[in-house]
């Protein structure tokens, strides 16, 4: 038997696989397919201080080997998450990661504060959303604002804090170093890449929001590259994601430097995605004489 468990920010994860925020709701829908307790953890839908209705539809456009989405962080707000989703989720034997977002650093901190004392194992701070105070550019595209929001959340909670990085930047290692310096316990990456599709028969963008975030198999090589760069730039552990569709993909991200791996859009194609990936990883390890999955983390031998 291969040992699949990993230590991530001092927490034991039974395996490295975590469904990615926004692709798995709060787990209820996928629970009809399998027990959530089989997962290493769950990153739940992004939660904000107040309920949000999100963007108008269409919110999805297919792309070669992937998709664009413009959901716009529709969610019921942190209070509903605590009163309605958490009691159910915390019955599962898996790590609960609360993904949070806000339009200002104070708002993010406020959400984190409300999670103190709740059955949340980890907070994942999404810094890809527009920062209203700084003229709407995402927190995550500037090292100073990224550090500022990380610090605000860090000071608001003692729950282990992972900061989710945006790939829509010139140098992702700069942002990673900034949030590490501001007290993050881990980083996760990549969030979606900004993209666009046009219906050439109508001349209209397919998304009502015109632009949206690209995810799915198409982004995988970018994820591998960024995880590798960030893992080499910071000392804190990395949670890798972006286009993972198989156990081999997950292992590749781990070799690049990820300790845990999130699986997003592929869940839509294959509702058993996470379970299949865990089983494929186990098989691969067995075949290659890997007794402990931890032994492959960051083992890529660059030329």
């Amino acid at each position: 038997m291969t040992k699949l468990n990993v230590n991530f920010c001092g927490l034991d994860f039974k395996n490295p696989i975590i469904p990615a925020s926004g692709t798995f709701g709060y787990g209820r829908e996928y629970e009809k397919f399998y027990s959530l307790s089989r997962l290493g953890g769950i990153s739940v839908k992004g939660t904000t201080l107040n309920p949000r209705q999100g963007n108008p539809a269409p919110r999805v456009a297919e792309t070669p080997s992937g998709m664009l989405n413009s959901v716009g962080l529709q969610n019921g707000g942190v209070d509903k998450f605590i009163s309605y989703e958490l009691p159910h989720l915390s019955k599962c034997d898996t790590r609960i990661i609360a993904n949070i977002a806000g339009a200002t650093a104070e708002e993010c901190a406020e959400v984190a504060k409300k999670l103190n004392g709740q059955k949340v194992d980890m907070i994942e701070l999404n810094i890809s959303c527009p920062n209203v105070k700084q003229g709407g550019a995402a927190f995550g595209t500037n090292p100073c604002t990224a550090a500022e929001v990380t610090k605000a959340v860090r000071n608001a909670t003692s729950i282990p804090l992972m900061v989710k990085l945006s790939p829509n930047v010139t140098d992702i290692t700069e942002i990673a170093k900034a949030v590490e310096g501001a007290g993050a316990d881990a980083v996760s990456l990549i969030n979606t890449l900004l993209g666009m599709r046009i219906d050439i028969n109508t001349g209209r963008p397919i998304l009502k929001n015109n632009v949206g975030g690209l995810s799915g198999a198409a982004v995988f090589p970018i994820a591998v590259r960024m995880v590798w760069q960030v893992a080499n730039a910071v000392k804190i552990p990395v949670c890798g994601m972006g286009g993972v569709c198989s156990g081999e993909d997950a292992i590749e991200l781990m070799m690049a430097g990820a300790t845990t791996v999130q699986v997003g859009a592929y869940n839509f194609q294959n509702p058993y995605a996470c379970i299949d990936i865990i089983e494929q990883m186990e098989k691969w390890c067995k075949k290659h004489g890997v007794n402990d999955i931890k032994d492959i983390i960051g083992t890529v031998k660059p030329w």
Partner: protein, 243 residues
């Protein structure tokens, strides 16, 4: 709500018109629990997302369901290449179907590929159902936009006439958004309950990703519902139709 994913054999395939296919799939567990108006998320090999297709008939005894679909793009084209004996990868049954109540006098209004999903509804009500089928241009129909068959005009014209002449309890409608909007307006004018089946682009099909949003209103409060789980069938009064 309960649903399953699996690869199931196609036991029958028919081309019913140009670019329109009718396939019967053997999936007893799904056939047993499917209700009129629910849909399946169908995988198209080589494409990232599944395609939502209504289940136009389910036969619990034979253990089969039927999908009728039109080739609209590359994904449905790929699915249309599957043949009898091939397996088709689906998640089903999904969504909330039509509410059916015995003894009502109803009218089903279908537009184009929106007709097949109403089959099961019409069957349920038997002689108490009137069917108004609209096609842009086709054979066995009541009205076509171009007058090539039956009545020349939009389905709303015979519908309004019917509502004036015959007491109707419920209207069931499936078809393009513009048609549904006009039917909803008629339903309101004649104060008849009306259920419409909506389309929206989807990803998960089960309520997890929130991409299939649609504007709805309840107790005069507007909010976003999701077509894959709150629908595809909605009470027309609750739908906010865009311009």
């Amino acid at each position: 709500m309960s649903y399953k994913q699996g690869k199931f054999p196609i036991v029958e395939k028919r081309a019913i018109a140009k670019g329109m296919f009718d396939i019967t799939i053997c999936c007893p567990e799904i056939a047993k629990i499917t209700q009129a108006g629910q849909f399946a998320q169908v995988a198209a090999k080589g494409f990232f997302l599944r395609r939502p297709i209504s289940i136009c008939q389910s036969d619990p005894e034979r253990g089969t369901i039927r999908l009728v679909f039109e080739v609209r793009g590359n994904g449905t084209e790929k699915i249309s290449g599957l043949n009898k004996g091939d397996c088709i990868d689906i998640i089903a049954p999904l969504g909330k179907g039509f509410t059916l109540k015995r003894g009502k006098r109803v009218v089903c209004v279908g537009g184009g590929i929106g007709n097949p999903p109403l089959l099961e509804v019409a069957r349920f009500y038997g002689c108490k159902a009137t069917m108004i089928s609209g096609f842009r241009s086709a054979e066995v129909v009541l009205c076509t936009d171009d007058g090539s068959a039956g009545f020349h005009g939009f389905v709303t014209q015979p519908l309004e006439k019917l509502l004036q002449e015959k007491k109707t309890d419920v209207i069931y409608a499936c078809g393009p958004m513009g048609m549904l909007k006009n039917i909803a307006m008629l339903a309101e004018k004649y104060n008849v309950k009306c259920e419409v089946s909506l389309e929206q682009r989807m990803a998960c099909g089960i309520g997890a990703c929130l991409v299939c949003a649609c504007r709805t209103v309840k107790d005069s409060k507007e909010f976003m519902s999701h077509v894959c789980t709150d629908g595809p069938v909605f009470d027309s009064k609750e739908v906010v139709f865009d311009d």
